[in-house]
């Protein structure tokens, strides 16, 4: 590749990515040169500033024509941008959480923490933007490997070690399976570019080897189901969520999961949508199986959560359940699939990060992760308690919260295409989820606990307020998000 060619690319489309890359590099260097004893907080502030600049770049890109660079391996379109914005906002909030994470003696590697979060974010953004199996895989690995280290970053904490180890081993297997699936696709089509694959797969020769294609599809699905913690590949989630530092848990449950969904939508809809299986489009043929995965995920997540006493484990199962919900639009595959998935992920981002901010606040003050740590919170920090109630009601999908509108949208997409059974499962499991969500509220409002007042630090308070206001705002006026999303033309995804 000549320099001339290299310079001719429209690098501007990668402005947000470059910002993150530069800031991450800068942070890693600064971390080396700052004396060991010195506070690492300025690094976090720099990271937040970087994320904000990246958000500004991303917002300026809204409305840009789809462009691809680097021999069509990296692609900018509305789909990528919409998801990148989610990742950026979420990571910005999580950095703010991390700023005030105490973690005590076990929390020595704060500098690493901040720039690893940024590299993980970079991986997620690459996943959203890549148009080639290779770049896609690089993005996935960048996200995964950064997350493995993040999970184990509390080096002196046994749970954290366990989390990292389990995550690495399970994640490694999942990655291997994904890669294996990709190799089948490459074998069938001779290309790694998603759009070329999609064309090559319509070749009649492929049709005769439909079972190979199904194998590939299933293996990719397995690998990606791991990333979003869908059943039966969810077993890592509770241990990893419990063992990781709370901001990392928030990152895994929001950014990592959303990136997984971006990848699922992108990969399957570009490559497989127009491909013939035995009788029908292959996605439609395999739809019932994905529906079963979604249904089982919702049931397992919500039912097992009932038995959890550790609040982070409870939220791990809750986030498994939510993965099941978000799979529903993908299964029903109506015209609403992008809009409803995106909106739900937005709502999920706000309510889940908000909830984790409160969890971090309470578990740090109480030095306990048992859900009884929340008892009497209403007396000790009334406003925090009220905000937690907002997040929990939103997670449970009750009105005037973004979670309700999100669920409403998912039901619209599934009932509109006649998936009554799946919608009913989702409804029933939602009602089951009331029990454990309200259990937390009962602790907060009914039980008596300590009496001393608790005050959240400024960073936590900002995160809570942003999330609570956002949750309620999008619950009352979801039109703002829908109109914003209207600016993204999702058909761009399918135009080469």
């Amino acid at each position: 590749m000549t320099l001339e060619k290299l310079l001719s690319y429209d690098w501007g489309i990668m402005a947000p990515e470059f910002t993150i890359l530069i800031v991450a590099t800068l942070l890693s260097l600064m971390d080396l040169f700052i004396p060991n004893k010195a506070s690492r907080k300025p690094l976090a502030l720099l990271g937040i500033a970087g994320v904000i600049i990246a958000i500004v770049f991303a917002v300026m890109q809204v409305g840009t024509e789809p462009t691809s660079i680097l021999f069509d391996t990296y692609r900018f379109d509305s789909f990528a941008l919409a998801f990148k914005l989610l990742f950026l906002v979420a990571t910005g909030l999580i950095l703010l959480l991390a700023l005030d994470y105490e973690g005590g003696r076990e929390w020595e590697f704060r500098g690493e923490f901040f720039y690893l979060l940024l590299t993980a974010l970079l991986g997620a953004m690459m996943m959203a933007s890549s148009a080639d199996l290779i770049t896609l895989f690089v993005g996935l690995e960048l996200l995964s490997i950064s997350s493995y280290i993040l999970a184990g970053i509390r080096k002196n904490n046994l749970h954290s070690n366990e989390a990292a180890f389990k995550y690495v081993v399970n994640g490694g297997i999942a990655t291997a399976i994904t890669l294996f699936g990709m190799s089948y696709i490459y074998g069938l089509t001779g290309s790694t570019n998603l759009y070329e694959i999609s064309e090559a797969l319509t070749n009649p020769a492929v049709e005769q080897n439909a079972f190979l294609l199904v194998m590939a599809f299933v293996m990719l699905l397995v690998g990606l189901a791991f990333k979003i913690a869908a059943a039966p590949f969810h077993m890592w989630a509770p241990d990893v969520y419990q063992g990781s530092a709370t901001p990392v848990t928030a990152f895994l449950s929001v950014v990592s999961k959303s990136a997984g969904f971006a990848l699922i939508l992108k990969m399957f809809l570009i490559t497989f949508l127009s491909v013939q299986g035995w009788h029908n489009s292959i996605i439609l043929e395999l739809q019932p199986y994905i529906a079963v995965i979604a249904g089982v995920t919702m049931v397992i997540g919500n039912v097992v959560a009932l038995r959890q006493r550790n609040i982070k484990r409870m939220f791990a199962y809750s986030s498994i359940a939510h993965a099941g919900y978000v799979l529903v639009p993908f299964v029903s595959l109506s015209l609403l699939v992008f809009k409803m998935t995106w909106f739900y992920l937005l709502a999920y981002l706000l309510m889940n990060i908000g909830a984790f901010a409160v969890i971090q606040f309470v578990t740090e003050k109480e030095r306990s992760e048992d859900f009884t740590a929340f008892s009497g919170l209403y007396k000790r920090a009334p406003w925090v308690a009220v905000m937690m109630a907002v997040f929990i009601l939103s997670l449970a999908g009750l009105p005037f919260t973004a979670g309700f509108i999100g669920k409403f949208g998912i039901f619209m997409s599934s009932l509109g295409t006649g998936h009554f059974v799946l919608a009913s499962v989702m409804m029933a499991t939602t009602v089951i989820s009331y029990v454990y969500y309200f259990n937390v509220l009962v602790q907060i409002f009914f039980r008596k606990g300590e009496v001393d007042r608790l005050r959240p630090s400024v960073g936590l308070l900002i995160v809570m307020i942003i999330c609570a206001v956002g949750t309620i705002f999008f619950g009352i006026y979801p039109g703002a998000a829908y109109d914003f999303f209207q600016g993204f033309d999702m058909n761009e995804l399918f135009i080469k």
Partner: protein, 508 residues
């Protein structure tokens, strides 16, 4: 014609919530005062709506409409625009229900003086609950209805679970799960309707669904599909009403919740189920409703008899009244199932009449519990000697409940059975047994309480003060007023029900 009167009415309890935020927790008397005064504002507004309502027109009035959510789904089928508006409006029935809600809320707020601790949280939730209830009746589209419906769920859960009696949390969860499932089914029905028709507006839906069967068949809303939706509605709202196999949560709530909340619960919340059945079941699916009318009437008779039989053996007065509510809600079903003008009007009468009567009886339970610490019939024996006025009201409430002529209960039962005898005489004959049973269990309970043997500790009890029995007086007067001059209700209801029975739904 855009007025903001209904919005003001629905959201007026917010004023109270905001004021309460600034009242210090320790000022209990001030909190109770503010809480009570705050309910007067919606009451005043409800009266303004009531007197401003022109009952010579059958159209919706005080309409408000603003674009709210645009799902941007124009590309989908059937030509609906899929925008959801914020739309409120009232007809003759909902005016009365709004007034009933505001009134019972005010009286329940008065009964809330018996709440001892955490009064601030209590009144804030109480007012939030009132917003939900008012909103349910004022909404003119399904999404808005559902949102307000769910809003009633959250405060009620807390009000039962925190301020109730011994087994309160179990009752609260039971309430949450049953009603959660009910509203889950309701939401599925609503969204299916929305996706099929592209509108959520009551009038729009009625009009859409009254197209010819062939037309609907072509849009995949065939006969069986509609029947399925109606049955799903029946189950969903049957939880709230409650229809008999789905009633167990409601008994727990009646026994465990504080009396003021039971006044609301029994007086208003149960009525949402009946209102929904009327507005959605009858309004959207008149043809299918006719097909299953017999079964609805049968369910009504089962409710009536089952409730009455079980009420007869209860020793806790709260349970007697709980089963009595089950029994009386049967009458609503019977009236709707008869599908005659008289029957449906009787059902609507029953909604309002039972709202008042059960509010009265539970208020009296609260009054007596406050002094005696018990609600067991045998322990309350002979209370007329120490609390003669209370006992008098109790007798009045009991007589109203069993349908004594001259009281509101009589009018509604008479009209309902008049309707049912016209179309299903055999079923009606069986049903009248229920009325006799009602007299039996009600008199047994009330007479044992008032004239039964006095147990020693009761002799030191003091009679309620004048201010304490004002709510009872107001309710009793209203019950008698409706009983002797039913036109106060029927003038309002006539045109609305006629429009509904003509199969046109509420016409704008």
């Amino acid at each position: 014609m855009d007025s903001i009167l209904l919005s003001a009415l629905v959201f007026s309890p917010i004023v109270g919530i905001l004021v309460l935020l600034f009242v210090p927790k320790a000022e209990k008397a001030a909190i109770k005062g503010v809480g009570f005064l705050a309910t007067l504002l919606p009451l005043a507004l409800a009266f303004i709506v009531y007197f401003g309502f022109d009952n010579t027109k059958e159209t919706l009035q005080f309409i408000e409409q603003h674009k709210w959510i645009n799902f941007n789904l124009q590309s989908l089928q059937n030509g609906g625009d899929f925008t959801v508006s914020y739309e409120l409006g009232v007809n003759g029935l909902t005016v009365l229900l709004l007034l009933l809600t505001a009134l019972v809320s005010t009286l329940a707020a008065a009964a809330s003086v018996w709440i001892k601790d955490q009064t601030k949280g209590y009144f804030m939730l109480f007012l939030l609950l009132e917003i939900g209830m008012l909103g349910v009746f004022a909404s003119q589209n399904l999404l808005l209805f559902f949102i307000f419906f769910e809003i009633t769920l959250i405060p009620t859960f807390f009000l039962i679970g925190k301020w109730g009696y011994l087994d309160k949390e179990k009752a609260a969860y039971s309430f949450l799960i049953y009603n959660g499932l009910g509203s889950a089914i309701l939401l599925i029905v609503f969204i299916i309707l929305y996706m099929k028709t592209g509108t959520m507006n009551y009038t729009g839906l009625s009009a859409f669904l009254s197209q010819s069967p062939e037309m609907l068949e072509r849009m995949y809303i065939g006969d069986n599909f509609r029947l399925g939706l109606l049955i799903a509605l029946l189950v969903a709202l049957g939880v709230k009403l409650p229809i008999v196999p789905l009633h167990s949560w409601m008994l727990q709530v009646h026994v465990q919740a504080p009396p003021s909340i039971v006044m609301i619960h029994s007086g208003i919340l149960l009525k949402i189920g009946a209102y929904g059945l009327y507005q959605f079941g009858l309004g959207f699916f008149p043809g299918e409703f006719e097909k299953i009318a017999f079964w609805i009437a049968l369910l009504g008779v089962i409710n009536l008899l089952y409730g009455a039989f079980i009420a007869f053996v209860q020793i806790d007065f709260k349970k007697v009244l709980a089963y009595s509510s089950v029994s009386h809600m049967g009458i609503v079903l019977i009236g709707l199932g008869s599908l005659t003008d008289a029957g449906v009007q009787g059902a609507m009468f029953q909604i309002i009449s039972h709202g008042l009567i059960s509010a009265l009886l539970f208020f009296l339970i609260g009054l007596m519990y406050q002094r005696t610490g018990t609600s067991l019939i045998t322990h309350l024996g002979g209370i007329s000697r120490v609390m003669p006025i209370t006992a008098g009201f109790l007798l009045a409430g009991g007589l109203a409940s069993l349908g004594l002529p001259g009281m509101s209960g009589f009018v509604s039962e008479f009209m309902t059975f008049l309707g049912l005898f016209k179309v299903m005489p055999a079923l009606a004959a069986i049903g009248t047994l229920g009325i006799i049973l009602t007299a039996v269990y009600m008199l047994r309970a009330v007479l044992t309480i008032t004239f039964g043997e006095t147990i020693e500790p009761l002799t030191t009890i003091k009679e309620a003060r004048f201010v304490e029995w004002i709510p009872a007086l107001v309710l009793t007067l209203l019950i008698v007023l409706i009983g002797v001059y039913p036109a106060v209700l029927s003038d309002m209801l006539q045109l609305t029900i006629n429009a509904m029975m003509a199969g046109r739904g509420a016409v704008v």
